[in-house]
Each structure stands twice: as structure tokens, then as C-alpha cells.
């Protein structure tokens, strides 16, 4: 259904209506899934937290205040204070935009590079395609964290480098998905028709094949944001994230390990923030996958 929709010129009005119907149906199918809506709500909460972290929390929240060390949660400090006397709630809010930024930018890097590789590998089946896919297979052999860690060792610690490392380690999955999509699409009638009327390779790839492969990439992107946020948290936990005192959820947990016995809240609240954010994107991604799958949707 989607294939005919995307391959026709935008001027053909009945098909434009059909295109809107496809996405409207997807939206309706998504709204029918309670778990996807829970995921959307969680993502919404994290977005609000990120906005608050950007505009409402003063940067002084990262300054030590030893008089307020290890205060348990109270009305004055909803999530308590950490070993340096900093308010955990304010720092959780400060960490939200960083985690989201890493998730989104890393996935943007991985999906862009991976999709381009997948498009080329799927459409050029010869030596180039085989070389790209063997390279992808080799990258897929690495456990995700190890690959990100090795790239971090090359690039050094820091927020931008975390984004690049996590993005590059997400890339091979996008290559695989896009290559599989292209293989299934490249001999469809509308692609052959485009070729028959003289369309060039890049036109066929960008105008006819890419839009039809995008739904799979969209699903993988949503799911990959949660993996990227987890990977960022782990790298920050290991001390490879932004330099202290910048607040990231992973580094907050790492700071909290030394005071775990006396003040478990220092570890618990940033941990909950990571868990709920990852849960939100996972539920949304799962829902999106089911909503975009016409066979499941019609059941």
C-alpha cells in the first residue's frame, strides 16, 4: 500500500489523499495501543523535564554546598541532596536535556550513516555492496558497549564524543535494516518503471526507494534512542562522559556509589530517570512498529 503512495507524483490528488490516510491510520492505530500511549506520556514528561532543566534550573545547582550534605528527601529537597550537598532533583532536571540530546543526536548519526550505507549496499549488489555488508557484519559482532568504548578510547571523554561513539555503534543495525528494505523494493514495478523512463540511480534511491524504507528506520530510530540513552548512561558511569561537575544521570549514579549505604536516594532517582526514559522510548518504538505494520494493524 505504502509503495504506490510514495512513488507517485505529489500532483496526483487521489494518491495524496491516500498518503495522508496511511499516516492517519498509523496515528489512529498508535492511539489505540495503551502501552504506546504510556510510552508517549513518559517521553512527554522527560521532554518537559528537559525544558525545565534548560530554563528553570540555575547552573549553581552543580556547586557544592557541604552544609547540606546527604540530606534525605524532604519538602526542601524533593529527591534529597548528594555527597557534595547538591540538590538531586535539580541535577536530575539538568541531566535530562543532555541524555535526550545524546539519544537523539547519536541516533541521527547512526541512522543517517547506516541508511546511506544500506541504500548503497542494497542497490549495488556487486563488490561494493558485499564489502559494505561484510564490514557491517564485522561491526555487528561487537557487543554494543565494547564498540562504543573502543571508539571512546580513540576520541577521548566528552559529550560530543559520546554522541559520535554511540551513534557509530548504532550504525550497523540501520545498515542491515535499510539494505533489507532496498533488496525487497528494488525490483518492484514502480522502481522498474522509474528506471524504464530513464530515472538515474540517485533519483530512484532518493525519490522512490528511500521514502518506502523510512518506516522501518523510524521504528529502529525510536527503539535505538533508548539503547543510546542506556549506552550514554553507562559511559558516563564509567567516567567517559562530560567533565564534572556537569550533571549526567550516569555520572550522578557513579558519584552516588561511594555514599550508597548512607544515601541510596543519590543513586535511586537518577536511576529512575534513566529507567523511565528508556521505558518510554521502548514502549513508543514497539507501538510504532505495530502501528506501521499493516498486517497487525488490520487485525
Amino acid at each position: 500500500m505504502s509503495s504506490t503512495v510514495w512513488s507517485t507524483p505529489a500532483s496526483a490528488s487521489p494518491d495524496v489523499r491516500a498518503a495522508r490516510t496511511f499516516w492517519r491510520d498509523t496515528g489512529a492505530a498508535l492511539r489505540r495501543q495503551r502501552s504506546a500511549m504510556v510510552g508517549l506520556a513518559l517521553v512527554g514528561i522527560v521532554l518537559v523535564a528537559a525544558c525545565l532543566g534548560l530554563v528553570a534550573v540555575p547552573q549553581t545547582a552543580n556547586r557544592s554546598n557541604l552544609a547540606q550534605r546527604l540530606n534525605p528527601p524532604s519538602a526542601a529537597h524533593v529527591m534529597g541532596t548528594d555527597g557534595s550537598g547538591r540538590d538531586v532533583f535539580q541535577r536530575v532536571l539538568l541531566g535530562a536535556p543532555l541524555s535526550l540530546a545524546v539519544g537523539v543526536v547519536a541516533v541521527a548519526i547512526g541512522s543517517l550513516l547506516g541508511s546511506v550505507q544500506g541504500l548503497i549496499a542494497g542497490y549495488r549488489a556487486g563488490f561494493v555492496g558485499a564489502a559494505i555488508m561484510r564490514f557491517t557484519d564485522a561491526l555487528l559482532a561487537f557487543p554494543t558497549l565494547l564498540l562504543a568504548l573502543a571508539i571512546m578510547a580513540t576520541l577521548g571523554a566528552g559529550l560530543t564524543n559520546v554522541m559520535i561513539a554511540v551513534g557509530l555503534s548504532a550504525m550497523p543495525r540501520f545498515t542491515r535494516v535499510m539494505q533489507a528494505e532496498v533488496l525487497s523494493l528494488r525490483n518492484r514495478e514502480y522502481v522498474l518503471a522509474a528506471r524504464a523512463v530513464g530515472a538515474g540511480t540517485s533519483t530512484i534511491l532518493v525519490r522512490h526507494i528511500l521514502p518506502n524504507g523510512l518506516s522501518s528506520v523510524l521504528v529502529l530510530s525510536t527503539l535505538s534512542i533508548s539503547t543510546a540513552i542506556l549506552a550514554e548512561a553507562t559511559l558516563s558511569f564509567l567516567g567517559l562522559g562530560p567533565r564534572p561537575p556537569t550533571a549526567t544521570w550516569g555520572s550522578m549514579i557513579s558519584d552516588g556509589t561511594s555514599v550508597l549505604q548512607a544515601a541510596p536516594w543519590v543513586v535511586l532517582f537518577p536511576g529512575l530517570a534513566i529507567t523511565l526514559t528508556v521505558l518510554g522510548f521502548s514502549l513508543l518504538g514497539d507501538g510504532l512498529r505495530d502501528a506501521l505494520d499493516v498486517r497487525l494493524r488490520d487485525k
Binding site: 561484510r134 580513540t154 548512561a233 558511569f237
Partner: protein, 312 residues
């Protein structure tokens, strides 16, 4: 046999590719291990001597050939930082990681399979929703968070298990007690994934005609589950378990660090960050080989237990 042969060649190519990529990532690192090693004591003479000693003055292709030779002979030389024979060093920590990975996969099966089966058999009930909520939380929570929460509750508060270490030099019971929390922390997210896969796989077969036939001829539900549903339903779970074992080996490092437990992962993270080439390369060779071999064995087993795949 053709299936196994094809998969073997593919696995060998993947391994060569993965090891080459890792060599390039490590060697193209901007930081210089010799400069890091010497720090403030750096002089051009000392730098040149160390570079010659470790073969770092050779062109990259020569270094690559030496690296390939090291892998083939299993002789990786001496660790830059620890000044110990790399092979001995790896051999001393490998058993701890193997223990942890095996214990974690036992946790994965012991929690994941029953959770998935119960959820599938009680589809859309409260039990199903509760089981899947536990699974989702297990997937979403980072392993190191779970590790810290387990330490807080079961070690600090209840005193049941040691906080750190692997019980080195103590009796077997202490070593096993030291293994419980790391295995739970490492295995829980895999258990959660396995539960979801088991539920989905079992739901797929529960509506098959042959199960209706089994019910119609009066077989008891447990017999139907054991002899018919699980035998077919668990085939996809096998593939997921194989992949999980690979991820467990990769994720073991962080858990080893939290529990201050010796192991390949912890040593590797230290080695990569200090640019200890011989040690990183040896550890990565061991890890990547085991991940690829596990995937190969899973692939082949998958073909053996599901005869339909042998034809395709």
C-alpha cells in the same frame, strides 16, 4: 554439512573483519601510549627505546602482520602497564568471567523462561501484564543500577551477600555467594528479553492446528505444553539466548567494576583506557572469538533443532 561449512566460512570472515577493525580503531588513536607511559619522565631517547621495544616504530602494515601472528600463536607479548605476560594475565581472569557469564545465563533461563511461559498461558490477564511489566523494567533499567540496588538491599541492609570481590582464596561456598549478585545484575536484563521472546514465540504456536488436535484427543495441558508447544515454541528463544550470551560477555565489564570483581571485561576497560595495546588486543581477540563462536554454534543448533531451516 553444507550449512555448517557455509556458516564456518562466514564466521571466519566476520572474525577477521572484526579483529582488523579493532586493530585500526586502537592503533589510529590520537594519544600515544609511549607518551602516556612516560608522562613527565619523557625524553626523546626513552621514547625511541620504548617504541622500538614494543614494535611501535614499525609501519602500520608491519604492526598488523605482527598482530595477526600474535593471534595465531596466542603470544601477545608483555602488557605495557602491568609488565606481565599478557597470555598469563588473560588466563588468570578468564575463569572469573566464564563463571559470571554461565551464572548469568542460568539466571536468564531460570527467570526468563518461566516468566514468558506463564505470561503466554495467561494471555491478557493480570499475571500477563505483571510479568511483562517486570520484563520491561528489566530491559529499561541499566545493569549497573540494578547491581547497586541489589548491593543496597541484599548486602548492606540484609547482609546476605558480600559487597565486593569474587571470594578469591576462600572456599567454594563463599565464591558462590560472591557470584549471586553479579549474576543477578548481569542476567536480569537478558531474562527480561528472554521472557518477552518466550511469550511471543509461545503465543505463535498456541493457536496452531496440531495443538488443537492434541487438546481434542484429550492430552493433559501440561503434556501439551511440554511435548508440543515448548518444543516448537522455544526454537526462536534459542537464537535469542545465543545472542544474549554474546551481549552478556560484552556487558560483564561494568558489572565487574561495580562489584570490584576480577574479570576480562574489567581488565579490558582498563586496558582500552590506558592504551595498553597488547592487553586490549588479546582480550578483544578472546571476547570477539567467543561471541562469534557462540553465534555460530547457535546458528548451527538452530538449523539442527528446526529441520525446516535445513531445507531453506
Amino acid at each position: 554439512m553444507r550449512l555448517i561449512g557455509g556458516r564456518l566460512v562466514q564466521a571466519a570472515l566476520t572474525l577477521v573483519g572484526a579483529l582488523t577493525i579493532m586493530f585500526l580503531i586502537l592503533r589510529l588513536t590520537p594519544g600515544d601510549p609511549v607518551q602516556i607511559m612516560l608522562g613527565d619522565y619523557r625524553t626523546p631517547e626513552l621514547e625511541a627505546a620504548l617504541r622500538a621495544r614494543y614494535g611501535l616504530d614499525q609501519p602500520l602494515p608491519v604492526q598488523y602482520l605482527v598482530y595477526v601472528g600474535n593471534i595465531l600463536t596466542g603470544n601477545f607479548g608483555v602488557s605495557y602497564w602491568r609488565n606481565q605476560d599478557v597470555t598469563t594475565l588473560v588466563a588468570s581472569v578468564l575463569p572469573y568471567t566464564v563463571q559470571l557469564a554461565v551464572a548469568a545465563i542460568i539466571v536468564t533461563c531460570a527467570i526468563g523462561l518461566p516468566l514468558g511461559v506463564v505470561a503466554a498461558l495467561n494471555r491478557n490477564s493480570f499475571t500477563d501484564v505483571a510479568a511483562m511489566m517486570i520484563a520491561l523494567l528489566g530491559i529499561a533499567a541499566p545493569g549497573f543500577l540494578l547491581a547497586l540496588l541489589l548491593i543496597y538491599v541484599l548486602s548492606y541492609s540484609l547482609g546476605w551477600f558480600p559487597v565486593a570481590g569474587a571470594g578469591e582464596g576462600t572456599n567454594l561456598v563463599n565464591q558462590l555467594r560472591s557470584l549471586v549478585l553479579p549474576a543477578l545484575a548481569l542476567g536480569f536484563s537478558s531474562a527480561a528479553l528472554t521472557a518477552r521472546t518466550t511469550r511471543a514465540a509461545l503465543l505463535n504456536v498456541l493457536n496452531e492446528d496440531y495443538l488443537r488436535t492434541a487438546r481434542a484427543k484429550g492430552l493433559r495441558p501440561l503434556a501439551i505444553l511440554r511435548s508440543h508447544a515448548l518444543r516448537n515454541g522455544l526454537i526462536p528463544v534459542l537464537a535469542v539466548l545465543g545472542l544474549q550470551l554474546g551481549q552478556l560477555i560484552g556487558g560483564a565489564g561494568v558489572i565487574e567494576i561495580v562489584f570490584n570483581r576480577p574479570g576480562v571485561g574489567k581488565l579490558l576497560i582498563d586496558a582500552i583506557l590506558s592504551r595498553d595495546y597488547p592487553l586490549s588486543e588479546a582480550l578483544l581477540a578472546v571476547l570477539l572469538t567467543s561471541v562469534i563462536v557462540i553465534n555460530l554454534v547457535t546458528d548451527v543448533l538452530y538449523g539442527l533443532v528446526d529441520p525446516r531451516l535445513r531445507v531453506t
